[in-house]
């Protein structure tokens, strides 16, 4: 986080701000290339990106549970009475 950057090149603060757009594929090709060059030269930022991505992946896994079968059955029973048995 303390090294210098060439004028016009992506700096550490910009990396921090642009991470979501970067991982969502929303940066222009020029911005993406500049950021990728920075990441290649800046291990702390590269590590930050990796942990940023890991947190997203692990949160997704943690939250991606299915509706319990017992509740699904009750949902279907409810809708069967209200819709399918009309």
């Amino acid at each position: 986080m303390s090294h210098s950057h060439r004028p016009g090149e992506t700096g550490c603060r910009q990396v921090f701000e642009l991470l979501s757009e970067f991982v969502d594929g929303e940066l222009s090709a020029a911005e993406r290339d500049s950021l990728a060059r920075h990441l290649n030269a800046c291990p702390p930022c590269e590590e930050f990106l990796k942990t940023f991505q890991a947190a997203r992946s692990l949160c997704r896994e943690a939250l991606l549970e299915s509706m319990p079968e017992e509740l699904k059955n009750r949902l279907r029973e409810y809708l069967n009475k209200r819709i399918f048995e009309e």
Partner: protein, 230 residues
């Protein structure tokens, strides 16, 4: 932390990171959900009740996760999901496809959740976290940088279970609108624009909140793992 535990932890995180989509476009931006739903919607609109059941099976887990994330109670969430699907069935004749079907469905689901919460009169919206307000402050960025890497840690089902509980707590600590945005975008894979449409927010506001939520969750995970590894 025992050495073998640390080694397993290392593999968990490493596997999460070594996926091709690390620098790529996430699935949400690639899947044309509206196109996929349209044939079923048209069948339901023409009176085919079996098509409604197919559509319900496609979305029941998603709607349930959204409801549980807000209501934090499975029984209450079930009530809201029932209301939502019944409402979808009753209103589907009015669906004209101006928005994608999933956007329309999630709006109805959110309305059902909030109607239930209002009727219970015990809903307390979470207040904005100081941690989120300051997470973009320049002075704070340095402290957010990992002191030492935990991304090289590893994969293990037992370890993932331990992390799951921590992460669910972290997500639950997010203010409600941030939590909904994160859930719809990063769990359900909707696009930023779809999330913005569902919540009636601007795209810019949606993206800002999503970014802050992701940074907050990264920070919480980092604090847990670095503390655990110490």
């Amino acid at each position: 932390m025992a050495p073998d535990f640390a080694a397993r932890l290392t593999r968990v995180l490493d596997l999460s990171l070594n996926r091709p989509r690390l620098f790529g476009i996430t699935r949400g931006a690639l899947v044309p959900v509206a196109d996929r739903d349209q044939p079923l919607v048209e069948r339901i609109q023409s009176g085919d009740k079996s098509a409604f059941e197919l559509l319900m099976r496609r979305y029941e887990d998603k709607v349930f996760r959204l409801a549980v994330g807000i209501m934090r109670n499975r029984e209450d969430a079930l009530d809201a999901v029932q209301d939502a699907f019944l409402s979808v069935y009753k209103k589907i004749g009015t669906f004209r496809g101006d928005a994608s079907f999933s956007t329309w469905l999630y709006r109805i689901a959110l309305n059902s959740v909030y109607m239930r919460l209002r009727s219970q009169a015990r809903h307390e919206r979470t207040e904005p976290l100081d941690a989120l307000e300051s997470i973009m402050d320049p002075a704070r960025i340095r402290t957010l940088m990992p002191a030492r890497g935990w991304s090289e840690r590893a994969d293990d089902s037992l370890l993932r279970q331990e992390l799951s509980a921590q992460l669910r707590e972290a997500v639950a600590a997010l203010p409600e609108d941030y939590r909904i945005i994160f859930t719809l975008r990063d769990v359900e894979d909707l696009s930023n624009q779809e999330v913005a449409d569902i919540l009636g927010l601007t795209l810019a506001a949606t993206k800002t909140r999503l970014h802050r939520a992701r940074l907050f969750l990264r920070e919480r995970l980092s604090a847990y793992l670095q503390g655990d590894a110490a």
